[in-house]
Symmetry: C2
Subunit: 605 residues, 2 copies
């Protein structure tokens, strides 16, 4: 850490017109499930709109934030109450864990160190194990309440509008439904027993589509405040999980700062740190170094690991004629190791032992797509699908061990191949959640790959992908800055929400309708406040009509009062209702009458 | 015009590494069909990549640009050569045409005024009329050459990859194919005989997907240079047509400046100007004012008119229970007129006479969707589809008069209703080209509606929409500035190209593959130059790795040399090829052999 660098502040405080509320549980009454309520103008005469809120205590004005303390440990005791875990001394931090950084260059250790928990007697302490045993954990009830966005069960069947491609989204999510989904493997709750700070969330095709943002230290001087702020910033705009893709020095200590301050599950790619430990030489990697890294990160509380165990030696030749070869970092590292040693991947060979570590801490698998296509030309090719078949086999092995599993997907896929990719994943992995990067639907727009990929992400989310990994405008070109992270997150919230709408999620349309009513009624403030990015919406409006009075104006900033269609539309509605009992006539018309044809116009064409 | 305002310069000059080339015709050897060739680095050992180029002479360093002269009149004489047109005095410009602007407030008339052409003897001088008569016009051959992007006919069937949902995209576009498509009504070539400056282009499901950008004077002080620059700027980034949606004063004179300087077809919504002429009072509109406006604009050279003739009196009650009523300006103006007079729309009643004007100048119809949904809640509703049925009827009438027709579409449509909308349009309008605004796939992201709508635009383009009207980030909030226009155009080029790829257009993938090869081979300059926005791609790269030397670096700016998967992938490829005759092994593997399983690893899992 460079002590001369300015200390970035952590962004706190609520979003405009927003209030954090907490809903209690029934089975577990102590639960405090967070949601955000957006208040509307009194003239709307509408209740607040409740939205999903992954931002954690940072947007709660009542919360005291001190990143050296970490977040409250909400789940403290939940794992222990289940009686199958123990606290133990844990692995000793080694100099190579932080890339041998010392002195000023060493990011300080997080001030509070906890003895880690792990399963006793080789047990599986995973949500899947409990689900299969018929136990509804607090985590399960938590996510059930969270997914309903504060809605109570409807007495009757809701009017549903969507096409879910065979998913089975319930009208109302019950804790039992969550349990059954987790037991079947169709959903996961990434929640390491050593990450009690998280507000549990669920990833599965029958739930709201989630998004992930990637962060990572960009330089040796990156401070822990910077990294925590990246996390907080991504969550503020809607990231449901965050992957820490840090490389280089201080990787262990920075991860500790991130986890202790994260209200969302944290994912990592352990092979990155393992490679650092062997000086960056892929062929020097070994199962022992990798296993040690898994334990190190599991003890810290990482909630899911990307593991590229599907990159098998026999598949590497399938990449030989590709336009862009192997574009996954983890995949290329493993491919290099395999080729150099002319051996099968140690991740594949030791997959059973990896499962044993995962189940002892409830780290979820994110089975990496090391052979994903890096270009339109390589989409859905033999290498990609060969690996996917292996990921399907590994899913079965992990499930036998009660491990939670999701499957990573591409990448670059033209629109006409997206459905095929989704269907193949569902079939091969028997419904395990799909977690895709985009996909980008064309290669020709570097600088705009948040958009090329949002198209693919929205579609694959609709088809059944459970979580979408964001892509920022800097993809392929450089490191995302703060604005890029926000743009990436908002873009992916759009994709995920568009998917929820199209799937017919029963709560998704509430926000669209509230915003559209606000738009039609010229409640500008409500329109800003209900949007994914109120600050940008407001500033765009202000660029054209800056005055405060215009926020009350009954016309659009684009057209002015004379041409405003919405204003005319209101006039029409008022006029029609007054003149003619319009509603009644509309009904008659729908029944087939040609009510309005005036005598003098008939046949006058 | 405010003479104290700074005179904006017109943006000229080629894009990076780009050269404008012209291809001659065979039937019409004098044709000069423009394309852009992007040169690659010599190390690529690849020919230049040819891309579609709607930017006109502005990107040609050999062209002298003087907006007071207007562009060269390429098509001068083409219409006259067909022997069925006459020059005549034309309508006299009236004070109300420019909103009664006088003195300093009056934008000067374009310096060169031409006597307009029109058909003689009530003839149809439309591309459709000639196509039906079996004539291949120069316009038809021009667009055939243009659509092929310089490719010659392949001797054998091309390897095609795509799913075209029943479209019939040929391997190679012949002039005869263009003629047949125009004759059938499945495609239009918007080309007013009074707009000889255009480089002809085609809009149809079996051709490259096109995009439109909207411009319009934003204030009374808007100068003609500003408006011409908006046009040039939109075309530079890829707009295939431009709609001039100006309101207020000087509307006539500014349109003249735009048309005389436009290499692309210009569309307008004549009801806007008609409304200005009656002081902004919708109920004071009349067929006479509207007809006069059509003739005025047809004589100037407008290539297509949006006409909301489907907003019929009986449909207005269908909008009563909508969340967002009527959101089309033209639609709401006509609805107000109909309700006020309790009469059928004069556009609907006089549609025959409108056709007679259109065919005398070859102005194409863009049948407006005045009842399009303005929110997710209103998508695909009774009002929208009732109007679409009427647009289908009107299409038949227009076709009987040999008028070219395209159909406008929404708007706001969730993903699961997009295909239904497209299919309904194709069926109802018997294949007339669909021209949609987006659609936006969610309402909750004002400030990002270029993205919410790019998702819908890419999908509907894939399903068969022929032209996509752009949406800028300022949609719903304010007036787009220069950056917004560029963002909107690039975003829509992405959507259109993603659609072309998915449809399996034979030339679309060439650019993706060239860019991906450049990426894999670390040809950074080629990667920038092949992208839709070279300037942004380069500047994003420079933010992370600014030095010139890094443009030659064999690693990515994101990960550095140690972690670069592409670098590792190259190493792998080299190593594998050297060691093992990798290609051969890959072939064997594909044939089923499990070549690489080493003895010591088998069963060792």
């Amino acid at each position: 850490m460079n002590k001369h660098a300015p200390v970035p502040t952590i962004t706190t405080g609520p979003l405009p017109a927003s209030r954090k509320v907490h809903h209690p549980g029934r089975i577990h009454p102590d639960l405090q499930v967070p949601m955000r309520e957006i208040d509307l103008h009194p003239s709307a005469m509408e209740p607040p709109v409740t939205v999903y809120d992954p931002s954690g205590p940072y947007t709660d004005p009542d919360a005291a934030i001190d990143i050296a303390q970490g977040l409250p440990r909400l789940r403290e005791g939940w794992a222990e109450a289940r009686g199958d875990v123990e606290r133990y001394a844990g692995r000793v931090v080694k100099p190579e864990d932080n890339g041998f950084a010392t002195g000023e260059r060493l990011t300080p250790a997080f001030p509070r160190q906890y003895r880690p928990l792990r399963a006793t007697g080789g047990r599986a302490v995973t949500q899947m194990a409990y689900a299969r045993a018929g136990i509804i954990t607090p985590e399960m009830e938590f996510v059930a309440i969270r997914e309903n966005l504060g809605r109570r069960a409807a007495k009757e069947q809701l009017l549903r509008d969507g096409h879910d491609w065979g998913a089975a989204i319930p009208d109302h999510v019950t804790p039992e439904f969550v349990r059954a989904e987790v037991a079947s493997g169709r959903a996961i709750i990434p929640a390491n027993i050593n990450h009690p700070e998280i507000e549990p969330m669920i990833i599965g095709r029958n739930f709201l589509v989630k998004i992930n943002a990637n962060i990572g230290n960009s330089a040796v001087t990156s401070s822990m405040e910077e990294e925590v702020e990246k996390l907080v910033w991504a969550n503020r705009w809607g990231a449901d999980t965050v992957m820490d893709l840090s490389t280089g020095r201080n990787i262990h200590n920075i991860r500790d700062w991130i986890i202790r301050n994260s209200p969302v599950p944290i994912g990592t790619v352990p092979i990155y740190q393992a490679l650092e430990k062997v000086g960056g030489v892929a062929e020097d990697l070994s199962w022992e170094v990798f296993r040690d890294t898994l334990v190190e990160q599991a003890e810290q509380g990482v909630d899911y690991f990307t593991i590229h165990a599907g990159v098998r030696l026999p598949y590497i030749p399938l990449t030989a004629n590709r336009v862009t070869g192997i574009v996954s970092r983890g995949g290329s590292i493993m491919a290099k190791w395999c080729l150099h040693h002319h051996r099968e991947s140690f991740l594949y060979e030791h997959f059973d032992e990896i499962c044993d570590i995962m189940r002892a801490y409830d780290v979820s698998f994110s089975l990496g797509d090391g052979l994903r296509p890096g270009s339109i030309a390589d989409a859905n090719d033999a290498a990609q699908f060969a690996e996917l078949e292996t990921l399907g086999e590994l899913t079965q092995i992990a499930w036998q061990k009660d491990c939670q599993v999701m499957i990573e997907g591409p990448g670059h896929v033209p629109m006409h191949k997206i459905k095929e990719n989704m269907d193949k994943q569902l079939a091969t992995c028997e419904g395990a959640p799909f977690y895709t990067l985009g996909p980008l639907t064309t290669d020709i727009a570097p600088g705009y790959d948040h958009i090329t990929s949002a198209i693919g992400a929205a579609m694959i989310g609709w088809f059944g992908t459970a979580m979408l990994c964001y892509v920022t405008p800097k993809e392929h070109l450089g490191l995302p800055d703060r604005d890029d992270v926000k743009t990436g997150v908002i873009t992916y919230k759009i994709a995920a929400h568009a998917a929820d709408l199209a799937k017919g999620h029963p709560a998704a349309k509430i926000r669209d309708d509230a915003l559209s009513r606000a738009r039609f009624e010229f409640r500008w403030e409500d329109q800003f406040n209900l949007s994914l990015d109120p600050d940008t919406a407001r500033s765009f409006h202000d660029q054209t009509l800056p005055k405060e009075a215009h926020k009350l104006a009954h016309f659009c900033s684009m057209c002015g009062p004379k041409f405003c269609s919405m204003k005319i539309s209101h006039d029409i509605r008022a006029e029609a209702r007054a003149q003619q009992g319009m509603e009644e006539m509309a009904q008659k018309y729908r029944a087939g009458g040609d009510l309005y044809m005036p005598a003098d116009a008939a046949g006058d064409d």
